[in-house]
Structures are given as structure tokens and as C-alpha cells.
């Protein structure tokens, strides 16, 4: 390669860098619009692992439960963190009720909530849960790697977490994500 050609190639360098950069931005923008990339979302470390150890008191009248109870109960199952003070939690109650009607086992955990507020929430919007426990100080939630409510974890037949869904479930996400996964795991 002669000197001029090499020089020419060198001068293409900046264009190359810009092209790679815009390619990455383009790909991410596309994924953002498709909803497959959310810069604010966080991957769960729990996926592919067993549930962390926990034993939580019940939200009356329900009895409390532990990770062993979830693993020995009907599987696959969902574990759902909610709180009466969170707006998306209210919005997802309809989707959770529809799951319940389809026979899905949902374990509920009231996150940093007062008992009275949580029971009021359950009577007002319906109780889709197999059992409801209280994580008053949020320590169990931290062991789950929770970063906001609501969050829903899908546990497969061998007790391994397969999916963490952060945010309120909608009929759309239930039909296109949760139900197909549960069918696959059944």
C-alpha cells in the first residue's frame, strides 16, 4: 500500500468512528421504540437462581409464608411485590385477578406497607393472592434485588426464578409474556 492510499485510509478513520457510534445509537433507539430496551430498567440477578431464603409474617387473615412454602406449593407460580401506596400496583390488580381466574398461583408480598392500608387495598381492588405476607422493612425485597414496586417473579417447577417483571402488569404483558412462559414451564 503506498503512502497516499494509507493516508486516505487514515482519513477515513473519523468517519468510521462516527459510523459505529451512530450505528449503536440507531440500534438502541430502535430497541427503545420496540420496548425491548429501557435505559432505566435493571436486569435481575435472581433469574436462573433459587428464591432467596425468607420467612415472612402473614397479612391477616392470610398466613405468612417462606421460600420453602413457595417451592413446595403448586409450581410454576408467581411472587408479586405490591404496596397500597403505589399507583402501578393499583393498575395491575385487574391483570393479576385475570391470572388468578386462570388458576395461576400468586404469592403476594406487601412491601413496606401498614397492615391496615394493605388490607384496605386488598378489599378495594380484590385479592388475587394464594397467600399474602408482609415485608414491613423491605429486607426480603432487597434480597430479591427489588428496585421498585410492583415487581413480579416467575418461579418454574424446580423452584428456579425464570423472569422478573418490573412494573405494573397489563393484560398485554400477561397475554404476551407471563402466560406463554407459564405454559412453557407447566
Amino acid at each position: 500500500m503506498d503512502a497516499v492510499a494509507r493516508r486516505r485510509l487514515l482519513m477515513l478513520g473519523p468517519l468510521g468512528v462516527a459510523a459505529v457510534g451512530s450505528g449503536v445509537f440507531w440500534a438502541l433507539l430502535l430497541r427503545m421504540r420496540q420496548g425491548t430496551y429501557d435505559p432505566h430498567a435493571l436486569q435481575s440477578m435472581l433469574v436462573g437462581k433459587h428464591l432467596p431464603d425468607f420467612t415472612l409474617p402473614g397479612q391477616a387473615p392470610s398466613a405468612g409464608f417462606s421460600n420453602a412454602d413457595v417451592n413446595s406449593g403448586p409450581l410454576p407460580a408467581l411472587v408479586n411485590f405490591f404496596a397500597s401506596w403505589c399507583i402501578p400496583c393499583v393498575e395491575e390488580t385487574a391483570a393479576l385477578m385475570s391470572l388468578r381466574q386462570k388458576g395461576v398461583t400468586i404469592w403476594g408480598i406487601a412491601y413496606k406497607d401498614r397492615p391496615l392500608a394493605a388490607s384496605g387495598f386488598l378489599t378495594r381492588y380484590g385479592d388475587p393472592y394464594h397467600r399474602v405476607a408482609r415485608d414491613a422493612d423491605g429486607r426480603t425485597a432487597i434480597n430479591f434485588g427489588l428496585y421498585g414496586v410492583p415487581e413480579t417473579y416467575v418461579v418454574d417447577r424446580s423452584g428456579i426464578v425464570r423472569l422478573r417483571y418490573a412494573g405494573g402488569l397489563s393484560s398485554d404483558s400477561v397475554n404476551h409474556m407471563i402466560l406463554p412462559l407459564l405454559r412453557k414451564l407447566a
Binding site: 482519513m11 451512530s22 440500534a27 433507539l29 421504540r33
Partner: protein
């Protein structure tokens, strides 16, 4: 009616910009004097149209016309007039219109101040600015139009984000944008040079003042943003290595490199290709800084407007502007033969080192800021935060600072390092003494090294001046005469370099900052950081659109009152937000910084900071900008200005 006029003016600006993008460049190619001659008129026309458009937007905000979507979303009649006006750029659509306005003003400035430019070069420069304008104006008109109406209009507007209700932040966008967009002029000169296939000393001479002006504004803009973060975010930090902050730092770094590089082009006619590339890169990074942070892709504390749907449009515009100019560069630059040469030990050699280091820092900051995105593409999650930047940038700053004082005392073409270093021995000795004294006094190595570095920079900055006036080598009177005869440009460089030293001193001082948190009731006194802090009263005060809980805090030292400050928590009634109004009592050598943090059972939680030399951080930036301004008013920089009268050695 007024918003429609604004809308019309905006549409008119698009049409003028389109003509400005095509006619002058075609004219320059065809050597058609009439077409080339149309360039200044078109540029000025576009500027007037956009001033009118922006004026209409401000008018709509002033008269509280809430049928205009932009006004309804970002203004309210309860707000003071000042914030209603500044609110027009406190949001996405308005800020982009402001961006376009500044770009048009840049075009107008070239048209008005560039009368003695060669007409083909002027036509091309204005034409290139027209291309950029046309793209972004089209975007404003179609995808982000601030004049959109809403019907029925709300009775009251949604009001500006209370955090933005602050004089510092209110004037921040125009200054920052002037800096960002100002680099469009060197960019246009670079592209025009590529189109012409010629870069020479005159070109360097033309580019430098524009670059310098943009650089001064950007320096001030960054400093203002950092200052805002310091007093508004309320925990005493001044730089967070946040993507938005980094985005403003990137063009500053390449712009600084460009500034120095243009000197080499002007004086030695070398580094021409590199200078052209830097000019393109600086504006490209400005564009990225303005628009990529709006796409919502980057995680930032500052992103107040996210618009992923408009992201694609913006990306296409950026690809055309940046990709187009870089493709032109790849195509044309190899043909531009460099004429000058340089020795490694010379003024230009030092400037090359400065460029390599500045660009390396820029590359590191860029990599750190965008790396999470690359990782996300591979479905990996990671964060790059302040610890990374401290570990990587500081090692690059050390040689840069070391060279900053040596470079100016080297002569052009070829220099000897040893004599140059000998000329600086006194600066090095004083700096070392300060460093050692600080280490023994404070036992904090980072701060000690910082103070030594600051002394080295400040003293070294004036070494060239001292060298030029041959202080102590010729009679003092003669030195004095020489001093008075020094061109402003020399002073400018010295002052700007010293400014960097002042900032470094501030950063070193801030590394010694102390803070504590206390809960206090009226009448209580505590001791902290060598001061007595006494709460006189906690009271409720109504404001124009908020209510405040004000703490009257008396600060004493050695039994004498230092100050009485009134930090407060402001609860904005309409937005239902509480904003901390910190109090800062400064005597330049240290800040007493008080941020209230909410009430707990009759006690007010206060965070108290004693920040040594905090003011120096921003003062240094101002000094840097001042240095730039001094250089800017140097007559030598103005092409066509008559030569300076009598040079050196005139006895007083």
C-alpha cells in the same frame, strides 16, 4: 395572533435557510458573484426571522397565552415575569428554537463581521451554516414546534419546574448554547476549506477569534452549570461526571485543543488537516451534547426533556451533518499537503503534546460516558461513574498541567528544553515548597499535590510575560516599558492558563471539605469546623408561588458573628414540590454551605459544610474566559485591522 406570527416567522426562516444552504455554495462553485453576494443578506434575513419568532414565543409567555402548548406546559401567571421569559427555553421545544436562533445569529455574525473575508470563502461558510440551520429548523417546524396550539386552553399553565426557577440556571442555556453553537463557525470554516481544498495562515487567523469566542461562552456555560449543581443539588459537590455534564465537557476539550492548534496554523502553517478535523469534531461533539442527551438513551440526573420519538429524526440530522462533513474530510483532506514541519521540542511541539493529551482526555470521557450503551447492546449492564473518571482522567491531567507552563516559554520552530526549564526553576521551586508545606500541614496528599500544581500553573502562566519583559535582566524601567507594550494576546494566554490554576486550587481545596448533619431547634448552638452555628429562629414565609420554612442561622467564630444566613425549604404550591434553598456564605477562601433537609418533630435537619476554596473552582473558569476575552480584543487577531503601533523596547 402573535403565536401565528411566530409560527410564520419560523416557516419563513426555514425557507430562507434552505436558500442560504444552496445559493451561496452553488455561487461559489460557479464563481457567480451575484449568488455569492446573496449569502450575507440571506444569513441576516434568517437571523431577523428567528429573532422575530423567538420574540413571539416570549411575548406569548409574557401575556400568559396558555393556548400555546409550550407556554401552557412551562409557565404560569403566578410566576415572576423573569421566569416566564426564561421558561421559554426551560423546555424541549423552546430550547431547540433557542438553539436555532443562536445558530442563525452565528450566521448573521459571519455576514456582518466578515465583510473583508474573500467572497467565495464567506459564501461557502454562510452556505454551510445554512445547511445546518435548514436541517434543524425543519426539525423544529415539523417535530418540535413550540407554537403548537391547544384547545381549549387551560385556565392556568403547568408552571416551570421549580428547580429551574433560579437565576443561575435561567441564564445557563443561552450561554451554554452560544458556546455549543458558536463552534458551528469554525466547523463551517473547516467545511468551506475542504470544499475549497485550501487551508492557509489567513484561514487560521479567521477561525481563531470565532473559536475563542465560542470557547469563552462554553467555559462560562459549563461553570454556571456546575455552580448550579453545587448550590441547588445541595450536597456540596460541583462535578458529578454525569452524562449531561460530560457531554458539555467533550466539546470544551476538543475546542481547547482547536484553539491552540489554530495558533499553529496561523504561525507555522502546519497541522492544517488536524485543525480542520478538530473543528469538525468540536461541533460534532457539541451537536451530540445538545441532542443525544435528549434522546433518553443516556441515564442522567439532568435530563429534563426526553423525546425518543424525535430521536430518529435527530439521529438522521446528526448523521447528515457529522457524517457528511467527515466523509468530505476523508475525501478532500488527503489532497491538502502540509507545508510546515515541526521539531518535537518547540512551541508547536508542545502544542501538539497539548492536543494529544486533551484529545486523549476527551476520548476517555467519551468512552466512559458511552460505554454503558455499548454494553447494553450486548445485553450487559454496567455503570461508569465518578470513580472511573477520577482514576483515568487525573493521570492524563498531570502531564498536561506540567506541559502547560513549559510550552509558552519554548520558542517556535526549535527550542532547547533545558534552558526553558531553567527559566521556570523559580516557579517549580515555589510550587514544590507549597506542596511540601501543604503535605506537612494537612497530611492530605491529593490536596497537597493539587496546591502545588495550582501554584505551578499560575506562576508558570506568567513566566512567558516575565520572559518577554526580561525582568531583572534589563533595568526595571525598560522591563516596565516592555510590559506595557505586550500585546493583549500574551496577557490573554497567561490569564487563561492562570485561570486553570485557580480552578485546580479550588478542586484541591474542595477535597478538604467537611460536612455534618445536625437536627436543631431554635436557640440551639453547636460547634463544627471551627465555627459556632446558632439557630435563631425557624419561621414560615410566604413567597410568590411557594411557601417557605426559613431557618435563621447565626454563624460565629471566636465569639464574633461571621454571618446570619437564611436557608429555606420552599414548597411550591402548584407543582407540590419541595426545593431546598441552600445558603452559601463565602469569603472566597471558604464557603459556609447550609442545606436544610426537612423537619423532624420541631427540629430542623441541617447539613453543614465548610468548603475551602470552593469559589475558586468557578472563579478559575471565569478567569479562563476572561483570558479568552483579552485575546479576543487583541488587535492582532482582527484581520484587516491596522497594524499595531510601535512594538517593543520603547523607553518610558
Amino acid at each position: 395572533m402573535i403565536p401565528e406570527l411566530g409560527h410564520f416567522a419560523l416557516a419563513l426562516a426555514v425557507a430562507i435557510a434552505a436558500a442560504q444552504a444552496v445559493l451561496p455554495i452553488v455561487g461559489a462553485r460557479a464563481r457567480d458573484a451575484r449568488l455569492m453576494g446573496a449569502a450575507p443578506a440571506l444569513a441576516v434575513g434568517q437571523m431577523i426571522a428567528l429573532i422575530a419568532a423567538y420574540g413571539c414565543l416570549i411575548w406569548s409567555a409574557v401575556v400568559n397565552d396558555f393556548s400555546v402548548y409550550d407556554v401552557a406546559m412551562n409557565s404560569s401567571s403566578h410566576e415572576p415575569l423573569f421566569y416566564r421569559i426564561t421558561g421559554t427555553w426551560g423546555n424541549h421545544d423552546g430550547s431547540i428554537l433557542l438553539w436555532c436562533l443562536v445558530l442563525a445569529v452565528c450566521g448573521g455574525a459571519v455576514a456582518l463581521f466578515g465583510r473583508n473575508l474573500p467572497s467565495a470563502l464567506r459564501a461557502r461558510v454562510i452556505g454551510v451554516l445554512g445547511i445546518v440551520s435548514a436541517g434543524f429548523l425543519l426539525f423544529t417546524l415539523t417535530a418540535s414546534n413550540p407554537f403548537q396550539r391547544m384547545w381549549p386552553p387551560p385556565i392556568q399553565g403547568a408552571a416551570i419546574n421549580p428547580l429551574l426557577q433560579d437565576p443561575g440556571l435561567a441564564i445557563h442555556p443561552p450561554i451554554l448554547y452560544t458556546g455549543y453553537v458558536g463552534f458551528s463557525i469554525p466547523f463551517a470554516f473547516a467545511v468551506a476549506a475542504l470544499l475549497e481544498g485550501r487551508v492557509d495562515a489567513t484561514w487560521g487567523r479567521w477561525v481563531r477569534p470565532w473559536t475563542l469566542a465560542a470557547w469563552c461562552f462554553l467555559t462560562c456555560g459549563i461553570a454556571l452549570g456546575s455552580w448550579w449543581a453545587y448550590y441547588e443539588l445541595g450536597w456540596g459537590g460541583f462535578w458529578f461526571w454525569d452524562p449531561v455534564e460530560n457531554a458539555s465537557l467533550l466539546p470544551w476539550l476538543t475546542g481547547t485543543a482547536l484553539l491552540h492548534c489554530a495558533i499553529v496554523v496561523e504561525k507555522r502553517e502546519t497541522l492544517k488537516t488536524w485543525t480542520v478535523l478538530l473543528a469538525i469534531a468540536t461541533f460534532s461533539l457539541s451537536l451530540c451534547g445538545t441532542f443525544m442527551v435528549r434522546s433518553g438513551i443516556l441515564n442522567s440526573v439532568h435530563s429534563f426533556a426526553e423525546a425518543p420519538t424525535q430521536g430518529v429524526f435527530i439521529l438522521v440530522l446528526l448523521a447528515i451533518t457529522i457524517g457528511g462533513s467527515l466523509a468530505l474530510f476523508a475525501f478532500r483532506a488527503p489532497a491538502m499537503a502540509a507545508t510546515g514541519v515541526f521539531a518535537p521540542i518547540s512551541r508547536e511541539g508542545a502544542l501538539v503534546l497539548n492536543n494529544v493529551l486533551l484529545c486523549a482526555i476527551c476520548a476517555v470521557v467519551f468512552t466512559g460516558t458511552t460505554y454503558p450503551l455499548f454494553a447494553a447492546l450486548l445485553h450487559m449492564e454496567l455503570s461508569v461513574g465518578a470513580p472511573y473518571f477520577h482514576l483515568t482522567v487525573v493521570p492524563l491531567l498531570v502531564p498536561l498541567f506540567a506541559a502547560m507552563s513549559v510550552g509558552p516559554v519554548l520558542s517556535w520552530k526549535r527550542a532547547d528544553l533545558l534552558p526553558a526549564l531553567l527559566r521556570l526553576w523559580w516557579a517549580a521551586a515555589i510550587a514544590a515548597l507549597i506542596g511540601i508545606a501543604a503535605e506537612f500541614g494537612l497530611h492530605r496528599s491529593f490536596a497537597a499535590a493539587g496546591f502545588a500544581g495550582a501554584a505551578w500553573l499560575i506562576l508558570g502562566a506568567f513566566a512567558e510575560v516575565i520572559e518577554r519583559i526580561r525582568l531583572f535582566r534589563i533595568p526595571l524601567a525598560n522591563s516596565w516599558a516592555r510590559l506595557q507594550a505586550q500585546p493583549l494576546g500574551v496577557w490573554g494566554a497567561a490569564v487563561a492558563h492562570a485561570g486553570m490554576g485557580v480552578t485546580v486550587a479550588g478542586i484541591a481545596g474542595m477535597s478538604l471539605a467537611m460536612s455534618t448533619i445536625v437536627a436543631m431547634t431554635p436557640g440551639q448552638t453547636i460547634g463544627f469546623g471551627g465555627y459556632r452555628w446558632h439557630v435563631l429562629d425557624i419561621r414560615k414565609v410566604p413567597g410568590p408561588d411557594y411557601t417557605a420554612r426559613v431557618v435563621d442561622l447565626q454563624i460565629m467564630r471566636d465569639g464574633r458573628q461571621v454571618a446570619v444566613v437564611h436557608p429555606s425549604l420552599r414548597t411550591f404550591t402548584q407543582q407540590k414540590q419541595t426545593v431546598t434553598d441552600t445558603s452559601i456564605q463565602t469569603n472566597l477562601l471558604r464557603d459556609l454551605y447550609i442545606a436544610p433537609g426537612g423537619e423532624q418533630g420541631g427540629k430542623m435537619v441541617l447539613r453543614l459544610h465548610v468548603n475551602p476554596l470552593a469559589a475558586f473552582v468557578w472563579l478559575g473558569a471565569l478567569v479562563m474566559a476572561l483570558g479568552g476575552a483579552l485575546s479576543l480584543i487583541d488587535r492582532r487577531l482582527r484581520v484587516g485591522a491596522p497594524a499595531r503601533r510601535g512594538v517593543v523596547g520603547v523607553p518610558a
